[in-house]
């Protein structure tokens, strides 16, 4: 639990990008918490370490006849970049990508913001946070 007046929410997420609605829900929760001045920690593990890959490319939509620029595909990396803009200081967004999961997947080329870590970070955060929400795989 927090000992100061600030509130902190910790979330653990393992869903890979573009697989389930859970990613969207988690990013909405992070956004809402930051808007409310609540610090947020995200522990991304397993497939979720790919959420912050900076090489995610937009694509055209041949059904609509739009090109990649027109389509402006909302990648998870873009969403998370925007959240880091919002959570620079107070409130603060801290994001750890599990290093074992990253190395397994060769998924270490990220946008600015995330850092390498391990389950010990999740334990430390959980002990220090107002609450922790762990989201398992589908």
């Amino acid at each position: 639990m927090t000992t100061s007046g600030s509130r902190t929410l910790t979330m653990a997420l393992m869903d890979a990008p573009y697989e389930t609605g859970t990613t969207t829900t988690v990013l909405r929760i992070v956004d809402a918490a930051l808007r409310k001045g609540i610090n947020v920690n995200v522990f991304a593990y397993e497939g979720a370490v790919s959420l912050t890959l900076k090489g995610q490319a937009a694509h055209p939509n041949p059904v609509k006849g739009t090109n990649a620029e027109d389509q402006d595909h909302p990648s998870s990396a873009k969403f998370i970049s925007a959240l880091f803009e919002k959570g620079q200081e107070a409130p603060k967004l801290d994001w750890v990508n599990c290093r074992l999961c990253v190395d397994e997947r060769a998924a270490g080329d990220w946008i600015d913001g995330p850092r390498r870590g391990g389950p010990g970070d999740l334990l430390k955060w959980s002990n220090e946070s107002t609450n922790t929400l762990v989201i398992g795989a589908h």
Binding site: G21, T22, R28, A32, I38
Partner: protein
């Protein structure tokens, strides 16, 4: 007595284990705990009127102290308007969910 926030993201017609999660909510309430059951993503689908053997209606009937909420964004995505919801389900926003998550002492479980 503890304060529980259960977040159900799964459609029980797709996942057989959802029934256990509904049962957990009922049992926690039966043991005297304060329970909020928040439906998100495909978890909102059984909150529609007319669902046969609806687990949502059963939970509301068998554990009336459980507060049942449905995420408004998830409802809009699935074209479920407020008048299509069974009685006893209230809409909630993601801001409401965050407020509940950071309420001191709340035990949050995601399914």
């Amino acid at each position: 007595m503890a304060n529980y926030l259960l977040v159900e993201s799964r459609d029980p017609f797709e996942y057989g284990d959802s029934s256990y999660f509904y049962q957990v909510a009922q049992d926690l309430a039966g043991a005297g705990n304060s329970v909020t059951f928040c439906l998100v993503q495909n978890g909102v689908i059984p909150a529609r009127k007319g669902v046969k053997d609806s687990p949502v209606e059963k939970l509301i009937k068998d554990a009336p102290s459980v507060k049942v909420l449905a995420d408004d964004f998830s409802l809009r995505e699935r074209a479920i308007s407020a008048d299509k919801l069974v009685a006893g389900v209230s809409q909630a926003s993601v801001d409401d969910l965050v407020d509940m998550l950071v309420t001191s002492g709340t035990k949050a479980i995601w399914h």
